[in-house]
Symmetry: D2
Subunit: 179 residues, 4 copies
């Protein structure tokens, strides 16, 4: 099983990244840092006759990467009780991929995959991060992606995730495909 | 009471906009279409010694508008079970405003306001939009903003909101400050 | 379409009952007040060889009533952010009906029905009642029951529901089968 | 810190009980099996002039036990995406204790405590159990009880919890007061 980890944080070497490595060590997966790519926000052209215009950014390269793996791990800090911008922009643009004639089986292909979520927040994340878990689950359900599990860590300041033993422990057994 | 409606949609004259006008007619409030403004996505510099860099976009002008009103209505289509990008980017950047010495009372000022939410989605929105309601509520709780209520409409295609009588009816009595 | 309203409250003529009548007037449906029936709480015998013992109470009579209608309205006050006891006990016992050889098609039959929820609570019910809406939705999903909609009213003391105009209005257009 | 575990299951030696012992071994806490006590369901007399009648069951004895401990662990199977009956009945009756002149400081005393939740379900419990986590959290918030954390295990049949290594592992580090 090939694993890809999509890092949503805008900060390098942040708490979420640290927790993600506990779940999926660097050398056991493809790690993709969305902040390093140019992904344009979506404009909703689903309902215009001409459809979505071509956008010349890195989105399709990332989609190809995603489709080439079996297990998808989405790791994101919790920003205002939602996912970080780079991850949301990446996922929003899937709407466009679904209408791209070069990706006729996009939804079906995603439906063969399994997803894990890794979240880190500072304000009671194991409670206030639950709407985000529900949102991510609805996204997966739409595509038929199986949800394998999730870990929510707590950290208010850089580096503090090392003190959340419970989350670190949980991360280390999260991705059952690694065991 | 002065009312401002923040429209999050990337599409003009969409279903959400229609529903929002039912709640707050055009001539009874300041209507702000976030898509018409340049708002840069946040990069998390909360924890760097130098803090956030100045960003020369329209964010602070919008923040000033927001602070000049008593009632804030956030109207957004449900994109992937979350809020639309322009609204999320606007809210994300509030983190930066909280650290801006020109806005020393930002959080307290928001705490005197009241918010309403207007959502429209195509996939069982009255159920699958609930995590978004919870997320928006957590955001308001953080600032002390009182949540006045919300309406969730259903529309899969442009213009279809006119058939969601229940949502239209609910919108027309939503903003109690109008009554 | 035949409509049955299941009232979960332990109090007579309470706020929830009032709101339910706005949605489904007394003379347009079968109104069942669960408090008037003897329904024993479930003991989990799903996994014992002998299975569930026969229980001589009113549960099966109520189940028969339920199956004889097309539209099911569940009206309950929000007690500690969940449904009232009589309704929970009634639903819990469905587990037993599913194993009752006299009801071989119980789940399938429920799957042809449509449900509405009417909730009334005193502590920010339109927000803190959402987990209950989600719970009721999961229950319906299990059986394949379509969720038609819901209304959440606010009332802290007896009779106060008359002041929640928004909920009363919403209730009056809730059950689309009545229109 | 004195720990009390309230077991909500109607079955002896079930999966939830097993998981609870992983979190809080038998000899390190007071374990209370609610099914062994007589707790009458609440009837809502909050708003009648004479108030709640005295009920001669075991509720107040259990309340005394609860108040005599610092850490409260609520362990319940997920029945229809909610808590088990005995636990709900116990909690529902707290409404009555709050009006009992013999317990004038009930709410304040609870506000000094910390709670943990242990849930086990069979149908995607780490997702479909989240409304129950939210409900339990709202209950704790009402009383000012701090939520220390929770574990959700998956088991469809008796004994199957032994295969949910992730939950067992998480349980073993759940109650930080034990460490």
């Amino acid at each position: 099983m090939k694993i890809a980890v999509f890092h949503g944080s805008t900060r390098e070497k942040g708490n979420t990244e640290y927790l993600a490595y506990k779940a999926v060590p660097k050398d056991q997966a493809t790690h993709i840092y969305l902040r390093d790519y140019n992904i344009q926000p979506i404009t909703d052209f689903r309902h215009t006759p001409e459809g979505f215009p071509d956008i010349h950014d890195d989105q399709l390269q990332l989609v190809d990467q995603m489709l080439a793996h079996d297990i998808l791990v989405f790791a994101t800090p919790i920003y205002w009780y939602g996912m970080a911008g780079p991850l949301k922009v990446f996922i929003d643009r899937w709407s466009q991929v679904m209408r791209d004639p070069n990706y006729p089986h996009f939804r079906e292909e995603l439906g063969n995959k399994k997803a894990y979520f890794i979240l880190v927040g500072g304000d009671q994340p194991t409670i206030k991060g639950l709407p985000l878990i529900q949102q991510l689950t609805y996204i997966c359900q739409f595509y038929g992606i199986k949800v394998g599990g999730y870990v929510i860590g707590e950290a208010r300041k850089p580096g503090m995730i090392v003190h959340d033993n419970r989350a670190l422990e949980a991360a280390s057994t999260l991705v059952s495909e690694l065991q």
